[in-house]
Every structure is written in structure tokens, then in C-alpha cells.
Symmetry: C2
Subunit: 163 residues, 2 copies
């Protein structure tokens, strides 16, 4: 495209009489597009290692935890994903020998997921790759990255993501 298609949409929003919604439309549409491209890049880094971003995030969180293990419900809270999605990710990771599941001794209804040595090796390797190929080369200056993060943090706070 020679012209930015989202700027074209923004101009149409104003032309058709919705100026008070034009900035919000342009921002939301940009977020959709940038998310799509980043997710595609992340998944293309992880795919050869048999991981999706959802499964990588579970492994990364377990790798950071003090004991290398957490209740599955708490993983869902921290990653802000639906319990069914975490359960599915943990089952897939277990099938691949990257986590082990056990009953929570303090709560029979809850399941604990623990990262295995193989899971730890894989998540550290994939973190190095994601850092090198995605996170350290976000193509805008660091100060803009930080400002954008803080603006989006305001959105997340308003959504009730944290208090």
C-alpha cells in the first residue's frame, strides 16, 4: 500500500461525521494489526520448537516461579487467560514431557503444574530466540516503546486487569 490504510479509514470516519470516534477507531484498529504481525513473528520463532505462544507463556511463568511449579488456576490468573485454555496448554505441555501435573496436596480439586528439566531447557532457548528476533528489535525508539506501554497500561487498568 502506498498510503496507510488506517489513516484512510480515520479520514473516512471524520468525513462521515464521527470525529469523536476517529482516534479510538484508529488506535483500536492499529492494535489489531500490530498484534497480528507480532503474533505471526512469535509463532514462527516458536513453531520449529513445537511451542505456541500460549504454551511458551505457561512454561516461561513456571520457569520464573520459585519452586518451578504453580497451581494451574494461578497460572490462568497471572496470564489472564481462560481456565480451559490453561488446562489445554498444560495437557499439551505434559504430553511433550515439558511439565508434570500432580494433585495439589493442600486442595484436592486443584492441579499443580511443574516444569521438567527438558521444559526449562526449551523455555530458556526459546526466550533467547524471542528476545533476539522479536523483543529486542521492536522497530521504534525505546522511549516510544515505554510511553506506548504506559498508555496501554492505562487501558488495561481501566479494563480491570489489575488494581
Amino acid at each position: 500500500m502506498p498510503q496507510d490504510p488506517i489513516e484512510l479509514a480515520r479520514a473516512n470516519w471524520i468525513r462521515y461525521g464521527w470525529p469523536e470516534s476517529a482516534d479510538g477507531m484508529a488506535l483500536v484498529t492499529s492494535i489489531m494489526r500490530v498484534q497480528q504481525v507480532f503474533l505471526a513473528r512469535i509463532e514462527s520463532v516458536l513453531r520449529p520448537h513445537g511451542l505456541t505462544f500460549a504454551r511458551y507463556e505457561v512454561l516461561r511463568l513456571l520457569g520464573f516461579s520459585r519452586r518451578g511449579s504453580m497451581p494451574v488456576g494461578k497460572i490462568g490468573e497471572r496470564l489472564q487467560v481462560h481456565p480451559a485454555s490453561v488446562t489445554n496448554a498444560v495437557q499439551r505441555l505434559e504430553a511433550d514431557g515439558l511439565v508434570e501435573r500432580s494433585a495439589n496436596p493442600n486442595d484436592g480439586r486443584s492441579v499443580i503444574a511443574a516444569i521438567t528439566p527438558e521444559g526449562r531447557r526449551l523455555v530458556d532457548e526459546c526466550t533467547d530466540l524471542l528476545n533476539a528476533e522479536v523483543f529486542s528489535i521492536v522497530p521504534i525508539p525505546t522511549t516510544q516503546q515505554q510511553r506506548t506501554f504506559h498508555s496501554l497500561k492505562g487501558v488495561r487498568k481501566a479494563f480491570g486487569d489489575f488494581t
Copy 2:
């Protein structure tokens, strides 16, 4: 969550020795989260009207076009989506009586999609709803919305979205 889970991840990134990737990780993860919540809100506004966001975007673009019609390939370029996805969206919209397809008289291999009066009525109604319930109430100040849009525009430009 009492604490922001993405700030917690960011702190871990620094603690584990990846400070040069911490800002990028925090920004990319925020974009994933904010995209997810906005998309859920948009889809919940559109669902009662039988539309997805992908199909809404096709209808909106046709509604803006001078003749109310465009080649399907051009719709894909403007919306930056895969040709197969546009074809699928257009087929669903045609099945619902919201667009009509015809062969392009200037190019036998190309298909033209035209919005119907019913499609126009629906897309205008849904635009009013999305403006009221999503785009005009993005919960950060307008100046921050504009700055964030411009930073993300830098990312999109670097990705090659426009020249």
C-alpha cells in the same frame, strides 16, 4: 490481580539478565492483551447483528467506497488480510444478503463485491454501536490515544504495511 502481571514479567526479564528485551517484551505482551479485550468487546457488540469484526470491516470498506463495490483482491489489500479470509468473509456476507458478487467485466479472474441496501443499513447501525460502545470510549485521554497511534504507526511502517 492486585499487581500488574505484565510489570511482574518485565521485572523478571530484568532480573534474569535480559534488560535490553524487557521494554519490547512488555510492549508486545500489552498489545496482545489489549487486542484481546478490544476484540472481545467488538465481537460482543456485533454478534447480535450476525457479524464478526472481519465481516464488519469488509462491509464498512464497501460502504465507504464511491460505487459501493470493490474487487475482492483490493478489499484484502486495504484490510491487510489474507485473500482466503476475504473470500470467506464475502461468501458469508453474500449468504446473508449483505453483499452481491459478480465477475469483474475488466478481468475475468477477479470478483467484484457490492454492498446491498440491507448491508448498508446494517453497517451503519453497527458503526453507530461500535462508536458508542468501543471507539468513542477508549479509556485513556485523546492525546495519549493519538501518541500511541503514531508510535504503532511507526511499527506498522517498519513492518512494510505502507510506504
